[in-house]
Assembly symmetry: C6
Homo-oligomer: 76 residues x 6
C-alpha cells in the first residue's frame, strides 16, 4: 500500500478528528485484509452484529485518544 | 454524515463529560452502521446481553479517558 | 437520566478512587440498558461467567486509570 | 466491602508494582461477584481456558500502566 | 528471535508511524507463535473473519498510540 | 512466586523493551495459572487459534506502552 493516505494528525476541530479516528480504524482492517472483495463481503456480516459494532466503536475510541492528544484536545 | 454533532470536548462538569463519552461511543456505532433501521433492530439484542453491555461500558470508559484529560479532570 | 450522580473525580484515597471506578463502570451499563428489570435479570448470568467477570474488571481498570490520573495518583 | 485493602499505589520496586496490579485486577472480579463460593467455583474453569488467561493478563497490563505511572516508572 | 527488527520508534511521518504500528502488532503474533507454517495456515482464517479483523485493528491502534507519542505526534 | 523476575523497566533499546513487554504479558498468565503443567497443555491450543494470537498481541501492546513511556521512548 504505497498510497499516501495519512499526512497529519492535526485537524481543524474535534469532529474532523473523530472522522480521522474512523479512517485510522478502517485502515487497520484494510492493511490486515487488503482484498477489497473480501472486505466488501464481510461488511454486511459484522455491520449487522451488535458486538462487532461495539468492537468497531472501541477501535475508533482508541484512535480518537491519539488524535485528541495530538491536537491538544482542541483546547486552544 | 455532514451534521455538526461534536463541537468541543470541554464540558462544564464530570457528569456532562461522561455523557459526552456516551455520545462518542454511540457515534462510533452509527458511523459503522449508518442505517437507523438496522441499529434499531440490533439494540434490543445487545441490550439484553450482559457481555455486550460490559463491552459498551468499556468503550464509554475509553472515551471518558479522553474527555476527562481534555478537561484537565475538572480539577480547577 | 437527569440525576446528579458524579460530582467530582477527586477522592480522598486510592481505595475510594477504585470504588468510584466501579461506579463509573456500572453507570456505563445503566446508560446503555436503563431498565432496572432487565439489568437485574442479567446480573446473575454474567456474575457466574468467568469471562464476564474478567471483562468487568477490565472496564474498572480503564476507569481507574482516569480516576488515578485525576488524583495525581494520590502521591501528595 | 468496608475493608481497607488499598492504601497507596506507591511500591518499592517494579515487581511489587506488578503484584499490586494483579491485586487490583482480582479486586475488580471480587467487587463484581462478592460471593467467595461462586468465585471459587469459577476459578478452575477460566484458569484452564487459554483465552481467559490472556484476558486476565490484559487486565493486569491495564492496571500495571496505572501503577507504573504512579511510581514514575521507578526511574529515580 | 535474535534478529534486530526494531531500531527506533521515531519515524519521518505519521503514515510511516502507522506502518510501524502494524509491524509491532504482527511481531506480537510472531513471538507468541514462532512457526511460520502455523501462522501461514491461520492467516486466511482470521483474514476472512470480520471480528478478527476488528481485533487486529485494535492492536494496531494501541501500538499507534505509543508510536505517535514517541514522535510527539509529528507536531513539529 | 517469590522469585525476582522484574528489576527495572529501563532497557537499552526499543527491541529489548518489546521483549520485556512480552515477558510482562506472560507473567500475567503465569500468576493467574501458576501450574506449569496446565499452561504447557494450553499453549498449543491458543497458539493455533488466530483470535488468541491477536489477543496475546494486544496484551503485549498494552505493556509496550508502559515500557516505552518508562524509557521516554528511547528518544535520547
Amino acid at each position: 500500500m504505497s498510497d499516501q493516505w495519512l499526512e497529519s494528525l492535526i485537524t481543524v476541530d474535534p469532529q474532523t478528528g473523530y472522522e480521522l479516528a474512523i479512517k485510522l480504524s478502517r485502515m487497520g482492517v484494510k492493511y490486515t485484509q487488503p482484498s477489497d472483495d473480501i472486505r466488501q463481503r464481510l461488511r454486511p456480516v459484522y455491520g449487522e452484529d451488535g458486538n462487532s459494532l461495539i468492537a468497531s466503536s472501541h477501535v475508533i475510541a482508541t484512535h480518537f485518544q491519539t488524535v485528541a492528544a495530538a491536537n491538544n484536545y482542541w483546547r486552544d
